[in-house]
Every structure is written in structure tokens, then in C-alpha cells.
């Protein structure tokens, strides 16, 4: 070794420097990120699950059409330290300037820590978790899907014959409960005889139990089925094969139920994503908290399917206009299904009232229990 003209250390130094130069000239390392905006999207599951992840993936697709924006995506990233690695690789290797972490469990500590480590990168998370104690380059965005479930309820209330609606739900947490309540209130608005029966499966993805729950609801007389689970595919397919009508959740399930699909509650993340991209392109700062419903075009309903009756379509369109005008549908006097008054007479809660986020009961007319 000693007869080499240069020492080993020298050789390594030269080689690595050449490597860095080579890599940067090839564009592998991109220190100048001003040219365009690279956005990283992280999904907890597969992008085409007919559910939560698909709703984000649809928005990502729309985002790719925005000039100057490059989108990098990674699917099936668990809510563990794996997401830290994904974020780091998106920032270091792809030069991402904005990260969308779309799953609930990504937020703390992973996204918060990453935001502290990379103060120049913007991080946004799809659940209302950001508080003023968290880094200012982090933030939250969220859509009030309960408003779209309310529209579902209006359409379902006039499309049912048995006046019995079925709801397959994962867990009795407030966002699920407010969707169930909104669905019932929508149905009751147009059909005072309507009831909603809810079956909790206990977890976000249990296909066999979701199918059993759907069958049990239809056996008990429900003729419209909707759900709040991660991937509604099994519920919608099972209901369609039993001849029941369906309302969707999260993304469009219309292709799964050509005969019985009424409409569905969908997120419209592209509104938020495009807004962010636009703000950054103009050199503005992103808001830390961004939440909205129908009036801001953050949620929408799937185009009506064959299951929706003409009256249902008319009533649902009218209800959409009311929701866009922020008309309250949580109106007193309202009781929960145990008989307690939850909204006294004379009080009402308009969309975005913080009260709606704290719902921990099922309203009168819903058969089911939160425990």
C-alpha cells in the first residue's frame, strides 16, 4: 500500500468531493429550491383504498397539474419512526418544501420533531391537532365531513322505503359520532319518521365484521346503508349485493354500486392543497390552522347515483345551499338517545361551532350506544 503515489486518506477525500460535485451537477442534490415547489405526501395505507387515502391521492393528482409544482408520494408509511425517515428523505433527497402528513398518528412526536429540525420546511397535518405551542412551520388542515354526511342524510331520508337507515361505524369517537348525528338530522329534516341504526365494529379496518354488520343491518330492516370506516368498499359492495341503497364516505364509491348508490360524503383536499401551493408560489405564509366545510369547498358530495329519488336530489340540493350559507342544523331543543337534553330550546349551533367538535353522544333517533 505504501508505494501508492497518494495516501489513502487523500484518495478518499478527493473521491468524496468529486462524488458530491458529480451528484450536484447531475441534479441529485439540489441546493437551489427556488425553481419550483416540491410537495411530499405521506399516506398511511394504499392510495387506492376507496377511502381516506384515496381522497388525498385524488387531490395529489390535481396538485400535479399546477405548473411549477412537483409532487412526491409515499404509501403505506406506518405511524412510527418510519414516517420520520420518509419525511427526511423527501426533504433531503427530493428537496420538498412542503410536507403533507395525512394520517392522525403522524403528528406527535414525528411531525412536530421534524418541523423543529427543518425550520425552513413547511409541515401540514390532516387533523385539527396544531396548537400555538407547536412550531410555527407546522400546522393542521381539516374538512368538516359531517356537513356532507348531513346532505347524505337528506338524500337518504327521501330514498328509503322502510324509514330505517343503517350506519356501520368504526369507533365511537367524536368525529364519527358527529357524522352519525348529522346523517340522522339530515334524514329527519325531510322525513320525521326516519331512524338510524348504528353498529360499531371496534376498529378502522375489519372487513369480515364490516360485512357482517352490513348484513345484520339489512336483516334488521335497514334499506339504506352508509359507514365511517377506513375503506368503505366492503360495506358498499355487500349492501349493493343485498339490494340495499348506499351512501359513501371519504372518497367516491359510486362505481361500486351502480344500482343503489345515492350520494356520498367526500373530502375535497385539493381545495386546501392548491391554496397552499398558491400561497407559497406568491411568497406568502401558510396559515397554521385551516379548517372548513361546504362553504369553503373543503367537502363535497359524490354526484347522485341511481339510488337517489328525484325528490331526494331536489331536497339535497336545497340543503347544500343552506349549508353553504352556514345555516345551523344543530337546533334546540335536541335530546340525545338516552333522553337528556343536549341543546336547550332556543339555542342552535351553526357549522364550525366548537361545540360540534366535542360531541360525545348520539342524538334521539339513533339506535346504538357509545359504550
Amino acid at each position: 500500500m505504501s508505494d501508492l503515489p497518494i495516501s489513502r486518506r487523500r484518495l478518499l477525500q478527493t473521491a468524496s468531493a468529486a462524488g458530491v460535485l458529480g451528484a450536484s451537477s447531475l441534479g441529485l442534490i439540489n441546493p437551489a429550491r427556488a425553481a419550483g415547489l416540491t410537495i411530499g405526501l405521506i399516506y398511511v395505507g394504499p392510495r387506492d383504498d376507496y377511502g381516506w387515502n384515496q381522497a388525498h391521492a385524488v387531490a395529489a393528482k390535481a396538485l400535479k397539474l399546477v405548473p411549477g409544482v412537483k409532487v412526491v408520494e409515499e404509501e403505506n408509511v406506518p405511524e412510527t419512526v418510519a414516517v420520520t425517515k420518509t419525511m427526511e428523505s423527501m426533504i433531503e433527497l427530493d428537496g420538498a418544501g412542503l410536507i403533507f402528513a395525512t394520517s392522525f398518528g403522524y403528528y406527535s412526536p414525528y411531525m412536530v420533531d421534524a418541523a423543529k429540525k427543518y425550520p425552513k420546511v413547511q409541515f401540514r397535518h390532516a387533523a385539527p391537532l396544531w396548537s400555538s405551542k407547536d412550531p410555527t412551520n407546522a400546522g393542521s388542515y381539516f374538512g368538516y365531513l359531517d356537513q356532507a354526511h348531513y346532505i347524505d342524510g337528506v338524500a337518504a331520508g327521501l330514498s328509503t322505503k322502510s324509514n330505517k337507515l343503517g350506519f356501520v361505524a368504526a369507533k365511537p369517537i367524536s368525529s364519527v359520532l358527529s357524522n352519525i348525528n348529522s346523517f340522522l338530522l339530515g334524514a329527519r329534516k325531510v322525513n320525521p319518521k326516519a331512524t338510524v341504526q348504528v353498529i360499531f365494529t371496534g376498529d378502522w379496518s375489519l372487513p369480515v365484521r364490516e360485512a357482517e354488520a352490513t348484513n345484520a343491518l339489512i336483516d334488521a330492516g335497514a334499506d339504506v346503508i352508509t359507514c365511517h370506516v377506513d375503506s368503505p368498499k366492503v360495506v358498499i359492495q355487500t349492501a349493493e349485493s343485498r339490494g340495499a341503497k348506499t351512501c359513501g364516505h371519504n372518497a367516491s364509491q359510486a362505481p361500486l354500486a351502480p344500482k343503489g348508490f345515492i350520494t356520498g360524503a367526500e373530502y375535497k383536499w385539493e381545495t386546501i392543497y392548491k391554496n397552499y401551493a398558491d400561497t407559497l408560489a406568491k411568497g406568502g405564509t401558510l396559515p397554521n390552522m385551516m379548517a372548513g366545510g361546504y362553504d369553503l369547498d373543503f367537502v363535497q358530495n359524490t354526484p347522485y347515483g341511481a339510488g337517489a329519488t328525484p325528490e331526494a336530489i331536489k331536497a339535497a340540493d336545497a340543503a347544500k345551499a343552506e349549508i353553504k350559507a352556514k345555516k345551523a342544523y344543530y337546533v334546540g331543543e335536541l335530546k340525545d338517545n338516552k333522553g337528556n337534553v343536549v341543546i336547550p330550546a332556543g339555542t342552535s349551533y351553526a357549522p364550525y361551532a366548537p361545540w360540534i367538535d366535542s360531541i360525545n353522544f348520539l342524538v334521539e333517533g339513533v339506535q346504538g350506544s357509545t359504550t
Binding site: 379496518s205 365484521r209 336483516d219
Partner: protein
């Protein structure tokens, strides 16, 4: 749809319907494991085989349009997994339980990897036979739409118990499972018998997986099995290594799984977590009742690494 309110009578009906709908994968996996364990090996990898079978059946049914071809391919894929287990287990100092766990992860992992692009498409479903033509009650009509694979499973259970009891092949399998020394003395290759038994067991588990993705619930996604393959392996011990008992045990587990949703549908919704846990509670209770420190499990093959 003319729907009659069934009220409380709906619960036994739902349990009956659930037993038939949900039991088939349990039945196939437990029959496969029963055969494997009778020959003296434990294959814990059947959960992975089940998931891989579900994925491959769905993919093939979607690509070719023939669900039955999907079932066949799932079986073949399953037998490959079984053969891998059988082959590696015969190498010296290989622990079949540890190998099974490795294969379980390999099976589920590769199914997730290869199945990525098949989550969204809709594959054709397996047909069902309508036994409910005589009734006008819609709930009963639906409960009596039974998939042919259920009857295939029942036929295999009957054939397998007949095989163990009266045929030469059955005797050879039982002998390798009870005492490999005897089997060797009789001139049979213990490894080859076990390799074949594990391969056939894998085939059955793969077919069980195809039922999940092609009939009920009838879609491929990554949460499809949620541990059913593992429960079916436990079910073999509970069924005391008897194929017919596997059949009844599978029915019981299917029925227990239907209790939770059925009770909620008639308005008994308090404590649904408890009812949803019914199958697991049932397993525990039966295990506790039937266990005794004074004797080994009745019917357990003597060569099994877990009972030896």
C-alpha cells in the same frame, strides 16, 4: 324489498347465517393444519398462506375473469408455501414453529407487496347456491345462499376423517405423527410424508384465502384476514386434531363472530366490545375447561414439537 321485523329471532338466524358465511376460511385452514399436525409438524405460517391465497385468487380472478381459476391458483400458491415449510423443516436443527412464524411474515408481506395494484379493481365473485327458494322471508333467503366451497370443505372434512380412520395413507400419516421411529422401521420416509402433508395443508389454506377475497367479504385489502389464519391454527388444538371436530369448531367460531353485529342490530348495543370479543372468550373458556395437568391433550400427535 319486503322486510319483516324479526326482533329476537333474528339473532339465532344471524348466528346461523354468520356460521355458514364466516366459517369457510376457518374450516379450510384448520383442515390443512390438522393434516400437517397429524404428520408431526406445526405450520404456523398458514396465516401468511391464507393472506397470500386471498391476494393471488383475487388477482387471477380479476385478470382472467374466472373466479374458479383464482381458487385453483390460490391453492397452488398455498402448496408452494407448504412445500417451502416442509422442505426447510427437514433440514437439521430447524425449528418448525420459528420457521412457520417467518413464513407467516413472508406470506403476508409478499401478498401486500404484490397485491398493491389489486386493492381497487373489482374481481368477479364466486357464485353461491340458492337453498332459500322455498322461503319468502328475505333474511332466511339470504342466509341460505351458500357458497359451494363450504360444501367442498365439509366433504374434505368427512373424507379426511375417513382417511385417518380406515385407509393406509391415513395410517401412515398418523404413524409419522405419533412416532417417527416406528415409521422409519416400517420403511417410510418420515420427511417425505411430512413434506407432502404440509404441501396439501398449504393448498387447503390457500383455498381458504380465496374464499375471503372472492366471496365473503369479497374484496382484497390488507386487513382482510385480521388473524383468522392464526385462530384457525388454534382451532385445531381445540378440535383435538379431528377433522370433523374442525368443521363444528369452525361453525362455532363463525357463529360467535356474528353475535356482536346481530345483537347491535336488534338494539342490544351496550358493551359491544365484549360481544365482538366472543370468539376469543369462547376459545379461552373451552381451553380452560378441557385442559388438565395430569394428562397430555387427547388426540395430540406424539411427535408434535409443541406437545413433546
Amino acid at each position: 324489498m319486503a322486510v319483516t321485523e324479526l326482533g329476537w329471532t333474528g339473532v339465532p338466524l344471524a348466528m346461523f347465517a354468520g356460521a355458514i358465511r364466516v366459517s369457510t376460511p376457518f374450516l379450510f385452514v384448520s383442515l390443512g393444519e390438522c393434516l400437517t399436525e397429524k404428520s408431526g409438524r406445526v405450520n404456523l405460517g398458514l396465516e401468511g398462506t391464507l393472506v397470500f391465497g386471498a391476494m393471488s385468487a383475487y388477482a387471477i380472478a380479476y385478470l382472467t375473469g374466472s373466479p374458479w381459476l383464482g381458487v385453483l391458483v390460490a391453492g397452488i400458491a398455498g402448496s408452494c408455501f407448504g412445500a417451502i415449510h416442509g422442505f426447510i423443516s427437514k433440514l437439521p436443527k430447524v425449528n418448525d414453529v420459528a420457521l412457520g412464524i417467518a413464513l407467516m411474515m413472508f406470506g403476508t408481506g409478499s401478498a401486500f407487496f404484490l397485491g398493491k395494484s389489486f386493492i381497487q379493481p373489482q374481481a368477479p365473485h364466486l357464485p353461491s347456491i340458492d337453498f332459500g327458494f322455498w322461503t319468502s322471508i328475505p333474511q332466511l333467503k339470504v342466509a341460505l345462499q351458500i357458497n359451494p366451497l363450504f360444501f367442498v370443505g365439509l366433504a374434505i372434512a368427512i373424507a379426511m376423517s375417513w382417511m385417518f380412520r380406515t385407509t393406509r395413507i391415513g395410517l401412515i400419516v398418523r404413524m409419522t405423527g405419533d412416532s417417527s421411529a416406528t415409521a422409519l422401521a416400517m420403511g417410510y420416509s418420515v420427511d417425505r410424508v411430512r413434506l407432502l402433508a404440509t404441501t396439501v395443508g398449504g393448498f387447503l389454506a390457500g383455498v381458504g384465502g380465496s374464499f375471503l377475497s372472492l366471496y365473503y367479504p369479497g374484496a382484497w385489502n390488507e386487513g382482510l384476514s385480521s388473524g383468522q389464519g392464526l385462530m384457525a391454527v388454534a382451532l385445531v388444538i381445540f378440535a383435538r386434531w379431528s377433522p370433523m371436530m374442525c368443521f363444528w369448531a369452525a361453525l362455532l367460531f363463525g357463529a360467535a363472530g356474528a353475535i356482536g353485529p346481530a345483537l347491535q342490530s336488534i338494539g342490544i348495543s351496550q358493551g359491544y366490545h365484549f360481544f365482538n370479543a366472543a370468539p376469543y372468550i369462547l376459545t379461552l373458556v373451552i381451553m380452560i375447561v378441557s385442559i388438565s395437568p395430569k394428562r397430555s391433550l387427547r388426540g395430540a400427535p406424539g411427535e408434535l414439537s409443541i406437545t413433546r
